[in-house]
Homo-oligomer: 176 residues x 3
Amino acid sequence: MEATIGILTISDRAFTGVYEDESGPAVVQTLKNIISSEWIPVRSLVPDEINSIEGELIRLVDEEACCLVITTGGTGPSARDVTPEATEMVCDRMMPGYGELMRNISLQYVPTAILSRQTAGLRGNSLILNLPGSPKAIDQTLIPLFESIPACIDLMGGPFIETDPNVVTAFRPNHR
Amino acid sequence: MEATIGILTISDRAFTGVYEDESGPAVVQTLKNIISSEWIPVRSLVPDEINSIEGELIRLVDEEACCLVITTGGTGPSARDVTPEATEMVCDRMMPGYGELMRNISLQYVPTAILSRQTAGLRGNSLILNLPGSPKAIDQTLIPLFESIPACIDLMGGPFIETDPNVVTAFRPNHR
Amino acid sequence: MEATIGILTISDRAFTGVYEDESGPAVVQTLKNIISSEWIPVRSLVPDEINSIEGELIRLVDEEACCLVITTGGTGPSARDVTPEATEMVCDRMMPGYGELMRNISLQYVPTAILSRQTAGLRGNSLILNLPGSPKAIDQTLIPLFESIPACIDLMGGPFIETDPNVVTAFRPNHR
């Protein structure tokens, strides 16, 4: 079973064409480096509007059947940043550990990492994960997160994702 | 005043008898090692059903008058895991620090600790605390938590809990 | 543009005059040490009543136009402690990182830091931040937080706050 992974860029300026979306392609490239099993990316781009974000997250999970949706952008304290709120609205259950871990990782690089409001949660059998918007921070956080993401998707009955051990080794505990 | 402590195992498979509950006895044994003052355990077992968990948490706090209720199981991302949601439903106020601390502690052992959605909260004068389900993780997290649990129960006007300093020393700050 | 900063002491005993408010003046003194640009403190004192706290937070943000409101007190597990609940009620969006960071910092000093339920959030263009009540803990947490607070206020279009680099250096990332 191939894994379908949604990559959702959330940015007013990329959406209106003020600049090109660099974050979405950065997430795809990092995933290509990490994942060694078969997978299909489904990319999308919405402005920083809570209804648009919610609608696109629902579509990626319910219609595209993504086992994992990674958002990038919209997690800061600026007035337009509402990605965490949209994520919480569409999720049944929250995964507080990923937000904590990403802030802890990013704090090793910049003290303003603490301003990131990113979260993660589950909608049905899909994991939705907010990443920061900056391409550099994407690499710093997404790679270590893949130590646990494949096990999370296993637990939800999703596809078996394998990683390139030269990039990151997926840890799978022995459950009874 | 003796402390009454609820120990609630949450597991479909232990409830239906597919296997024996090992987590509940592991919590009781760890508490016996930690606590040197008088206390009474009240054990219970429910399936991974949100209504059953909520009802049993309410009973342990409101009827059994437990100053502390420790749950084990049901905190992961599997479809049936709803212990944190049930805990949040019955609590008046949340204690975010305990979930953060347990994930940080468990991350020293396994990267998948981040998948644990465990939380803690207050219902009236009682502290409800979600522990992981695995007996090994129970010891790793419950012992260091007792550095602060007795002070928490003091602040809520509960019984004075003493610990065995060979296992863990309860810290009590000087409040004015 | 001068920064108006609200300092709200939340304490039944200070409010009724059982003892003098030491926390509010401690926050003001620490802010004086930290901030080198122009700013105006607006101090206030309310009891541990959720409606009083909410009303005063709203007044400080909406009427006094504070870009930053710092509360002190009411974040523990005692029955009367409801500062985090009041904060969450008046905020549009939460900033989970600050609570996590403050607990991590305070844990280096006392294990009971984990009992602190403090949080932070945004109401309009204002950052509301819960500090612990003890004057010693105020210094320990508020100084390192100012590495990121000025950047947060920048992102919300607020006044440019400068810090004394002998106390703490405000970090400002280069946003495109």
